[in-house]
């Protein structure tokens, strides 16, 4: 029944080794962080929540189209900027009316942040935004903007990076 290589280590030493390991672990400090009392120290690249810097957004819709579960809602309209006194022509600009992310659908893949050509979206490590009503997980433009304050500065590049 038993394979020959099992006899290399006797039964008793293995059992004693196991008990020694657990005893050693018991005398060392526990790894537990008592979360609600002790806040975790999260690395800057933690995927907690997505923040929006609305000034940078051009309503290009790239994020909304790349989103795998379509949880980004964007409404915008065009405004005409009249030509100056020196001649020239009227110009048009996109104005962002609504930018919302439904975090009940979001799967935190970060593709929207990667794809944004104008650096309007950022990861923030904040994660305490649970709601009792799932509809409150839809964060509108102003709420997404509030997360900007929690966005950490980008981590320094590794030594030797080019």
């Amino acid at each position: 029944m038993s394979r020959p290589d099992q006899h290399k280590h006797g039964l008793v030493p293995g059992l004693v080794k196991g008990m020694a390991t657990t005893a050693r672990t018991m005398t060392s400090h526990a790894h537990t962080q008592e979360y609600p009392d002790v806040k975790p120290e999260l690395p800057p690249r933690s995927r907690g929540v997505i923040a929006l810097l609305a000034e940078n957004c051009t309503s290009c819709m790239l994020c909304a189209r790349e989103c795998p579960d379509w949880c980004i809602y964007i409404d915008s309209h065009k405004e005409t900027i009249p030509a100056g006194p020196e001649g020239g022509r009227d110009r048009q600009q996109n104005v962002l009316d609504r930018f919302a992310i439904d975090f009940s659908l979001c799967m935190y893949c970060g593709i929207c942040i990667e794809v944004c050509p104008f650096d309007a979206l950022f990861w923030s490590p904040e994660f305490e935004y649970a709601e009792t009503d799932i509809r409150d997980m839809l964060h509108e433009k102003d709420r997404l903007g509030e997360w900007m304050a929690t966005v950490p500065p980008p981590p320094a590049t590794d030594p030797g990076a080019q």
Partner: protein, 320 residues
């Protein structure tokens, strides 16, 4: 006459109190010791100080749960089964002396009584598995019965060794006959007792009957609420009974410094030591396979127990 009745009632109430408190102490110890052995903290919030009230909170939770009896179950047996385990260990606890005069009932053949009634607890498990009308429960109950049959023999043989060494079947008598020499002389018997008791309690590494990853808690699969809690209470009461029994048999019970008035404390501490070992084994060791489990009993424990019996007999004859 009325004085006797008062004493009997008082002793019964004390045994019941010990039966309800000591298993919780062991359970809480298991929570904390197991957690720290795994690098965790264990319960920290219930009761404020290091989660001391965790098991009380668990009890409240169990009491609130719906009491479900499956349609396919043999309903009367199903309802009765949890009580059997509880009563068995309650009856066993009643005869275990904490001191020469601190016991529920002084039975002349206390050792036989304790061994006999603890066996009944397994009948409760068997009833639960059979009456549940569930395959997992039935497999678990069959394993449980097979385990009882194999491990009861070495358990009784090691107990017989203690009894022969002391020349008494009374637990008080055995503890009085104890000498430090027993620590070496009866060591194989104590190891056999500890292993066989762990197996009879279906604790790791002998938990194949209730293995949650194989047979989903075995005989307890269909139980919820208070009835399930009773099975858990019986398990921890079983640890208390077996640990105290071994403390009285092998470590001389209340023998120790100041045993004139601190004897009961010594018995409890010695029993607690064995309970700690049982917890420690659970954290450290993996589960034995069903055939390995039978192998340990018949090829390991029974010969060792017989050897101990022979050593004890020779020792008693030589010193008599």
């Amino acid at each position: 006459m009325s004085h006797d009745v008062v004493e009997v009632v008082l002793r019964a109430v004390c045994v019941l109190a010990a039966f309800l408190v000591l298993p919780l102490v062991v359970g809480q110890t298991e929570h904390k010791v197991m957690a720290h052995m795994q690098g965790r903290l264990g319960p920290m919030y219930p009761g404020g100080f290091h989660g001391w009230a965790q098991l009380v909170a668990d009890g409240v939770k169990f009491a609130q749960k719906e009491d479900i009896v499956p349609i396919a179950a043999d309903k009367r047996v199903f309802r009765l089964a949890p009580a059997l385990g509880i009563v068995a260990y309650l009856l066993a606890l009643a005869v275990i002396p904490l001191d020469a005069h601190v016991f529920g009932a002084n039975v002349d053949d206390g050792l036989i009584w304790a061994i006999a009634v603890t066996g009944i607890g397994t009948v409760g498990t068997l009833m639960a598995g059979w009456s549940s009308g569930n395959k997992y429960a039935l497999i678990g109950a069959m394993r449980s019965a097979a385990q009882l049959l194999s491990y009861e023999l070495p358990l009784i043989l090691s107990c017989a060794s203690f009894a022969i060494a002391a020349g008494s079947l009374s637990l008080v008598g055995i503890a009085h006959a104890w000498t430090p020499w027993w620590l070496l002389w009866q060591l194989p018997g104590a190891i056999v007792f500890l292993v066989a008791a762990t197996a009879e309690l279906q604790r790791v590494p002998f938990d194949a009957p209730v293995a949650d990853s194989e047979v989903v808690m075995g005989p307890y699969t269909e139980y919820t609420g208070l009835r399930f809690a009773f099975f858990l209470l019986a398990e921890y009461a079983g640890i208390v009974v077996m640990s105290l029994l071994l403390a009285v048999l092998y470590l001389g019970g209340w023998t120790g410094p100041f045993d004139g008035y601190l004897g009961w404390l010594w018995t409890l501490l010695k029993g607690f030591l064995f309970a700690l070992i049982i917890i420690w084994m659970r954290v450290s060791w993996p589960r034995l396979r069903e055939d390995q489990l039978q192998r340990v009993a018949w090829l390991g424990l029974v010969p060792l127990a017989l050897l101990q019996l022979a050593i004890t007999a020779v020792g008693v004859v030589l010193t008599a």
